[in-house]
């Protein structure tokens, strides 16, 4: 995936022009996980929507394979079971209900969700709902996943657990991933490369290669030192 000097402005609901992204250049190789961190409102969600072709850039070029978005909120359909929610993309692709269920339930077993197949979303915990939403994203069958703050709404313990789960899921089902987060630590624990964005209009102000062995812990010395570098870059790009 390659983004070359991509800019994007849009008009918000009150009619004001918002310059969301300014000449952003990023790339991610096949199977890599690129994390994008930045202050809130720096155009991170706009970036993912551009990659998923939900928006068109005003300037610059985007060359990437078919991408699927996992939005911030899980948006599970309340009338479908966890299994049917996960298999939604398969139904949309024209598979029968039985085929979609068989496909999804294999993944449920692999990724530690067995036993929750028939639960409705309102019976699931926040972490479980995000897992189901992630499976739905995986089962869309696209090579590039765009995850928009997937664990933003979870408590700290569940979030750490989910980060481990996501890393594990991606080793079993390798994909190219763009992960947007405001949590620098999460970015460094999970990513191969971290791009730091400035406040709006978002520009890339630093890129850190994370060449550490996995699994990584938040408490590893290397993780901590990279986190400090990223936080410094963020602070330098943010007017006081």
């Amino acid at each position: 995936m390659v983004l070359d000097r991509v800019s994007r402005s849009y008009r918000n609901a009150r009619g004001a022009d918002v310059h969301a992204l300014h000449e952003v250049s990023l790339r991610a190789g096949a199977g890599e996980l690129l994390a994008v961190v930045g202050p809130s409102g720096c155009g991170k969600s706009t970036l993912l929507e551009l990659i998923c072709a939900l928006q068109v850039p005003d300037a610059g070029t985007i060359a990437c394979p078919a991408a699927v978005l996992m939005p911030q909120r899980d948006l599970l359909l309340p009338w479908l079971s966890a299994l049917d929610n996960a298999g939604l993309a398969l139904r949309i692709a024209g598979r029968t209900r039985t085929q979609a269920r068989r496909h999804a339930s294999a993944l449920f077993d692999q990724l530690g969700l067995e036993g929750f197949e028939h639960a409705r979303p309102n019976e699931l915990s926040g972490g479980q709902r995000q897992r189901v939403a992630f499976l739905r994203t995986l089962l869309a069958g696209k090579p590039l996943l765009c995850l928009d703050e997937p664990f933003g709404a979870l408590d700290a313990i569940t979030r750490a657990e989910m980060q481990g789960w996501l890393a594990d899921a991606l080793t079993r089902e390798p994909r190219t991933v763009v992960l947007v987060t405001h949590d620098v630590e999460e970015a460094i624990v999970l990513a191969d490369r971290v791009a730091v964005l400035s406040p709006r209009p978002g520009r890339v102000i630093a890129q850190l290669e994370v060449e550490l062995a996995r699994p990584r812990l938040r408490t590893d010395a290397d993780v901590i030192s990279l986190r400090e570098q990223a936080l410094e870059a963020l602070a330098a790009g943010t007017p006081a």
């Binding site: 939900l54 939005p71 948006l75 139904r91 949309i92 309102n122 869309a140």
Partner: protein, 260 residues
């Protein structure tokens, strides 16, 4: 005591209280049984005219059920059309509101002129009265889906039809069923209006006709007996639909913690 019996208890006690007060009032007030028959007089009128009331009830019940079916079909189709086409919404919605102000007797004879003395003009009257709550609740339900949902469905490559089929339609189902419950409650009085504003040639032309005839002929107790039958019928239909809702949209009942 079983659970359902315990649920029905408050309504039963209230009914007994109201009937007792009514009985007392009718006996001591001197209003007279032509104006307000006592409950025991209504009960005995019901008993001695059971056959007549039953045959007329069968006519009315058929009209209510078929008329409501028509209203549901019409309300749902129109709601979907309005939802999918902003132009149609602007064109049709105001007229649908206006249609609710039409006093049925104004058009009753015209309907009979078009469709004869049979059941069809009556069904049209009931449908005209009942489609409106279905239309309004369904339109709101269809547009009440999470505004982020279409974005998600688009990234999963859903077509417009699939977005409708997988997200909007099921999201609107609980609202449409609420609309159907309101429609049902007005459907019974709708049948009364239909019968009394369109002439009929059948030997039994429904409880509405009978009530009007009895009330004009000083058969007040029998008119009240027929009314009591309509009263109970409306309640029974309402709860039958609630049961259907449990089967059709269980998630909606769970999420609002409904114990109905």
């Amino acid at each position: 005591m079983t659970l359902s019996a315990r649920r029905a208890l408050p309504a039963a006690l209230l009914s007994v209280g109201v009937l007792a007060a009514w009985e007392l009032y009718a006996d001591v007030s001197g209003v007279g049984e032509e104006l307000l028959p006592a409950p025991h007089a209504v009960a005995s009128a019901l008993w001695s005219n059971g056959g007549l009331i039953w045959r007329n009830f069968a006519v009315t019940a058929e009209q209510v059920v078929l008329g409501l079916g028509l209203a549901l079909a019409f309300g749902l189709v129109l709601a979907v059309a309005i939802h999918l086409s902003p132009l149609l919404r602007r064109a049709v919605y105001p007229l649908a509101v206006g249609s609710q102000a039409i006093p049925i007797p104004v058009i009753g004879v015209l309907l009979v002129f078009w469709w004869g003395f049979g059941i069809f003009p009556k069904l049209m009257v009931i449908a005209l009265i009942c489609f409106f709550p279905v239309l309004v609740t369904t339109v709101d339900g269809l547009s009440g889906v999470d505004p982020e949902q279409p974005k998600l469905l688009r990234t999963l490559d859903a077509s417009r039809w699939q977005a409708f089929r997988f997200a909007e339609l099921p999201a609107a189902l609980p609202a449409a069923l609420s609309g159907a419950r309101i429609a049902l409650a007005v459907g019974v009085i709708g049948a009364f209006i239909a019968e009394t504003s369109t002439p009929s040639s059948a030997p039994y032309s429904g409880l509405g006709r009978e009530i009007i005839t009895d009330a004009g002929g000083f058969q007040t107790a029998r008119a009240y007996a027929a009314t009591a039958v309509l009263f109970v019928f409306a309640i029974a239909c309402f709860y039958a639909l609630s049961l259907a809702e449990r089967r059709l949209a269980p998630w909606a009942i769970q999420s609002r913690g409904d114990t109905r």
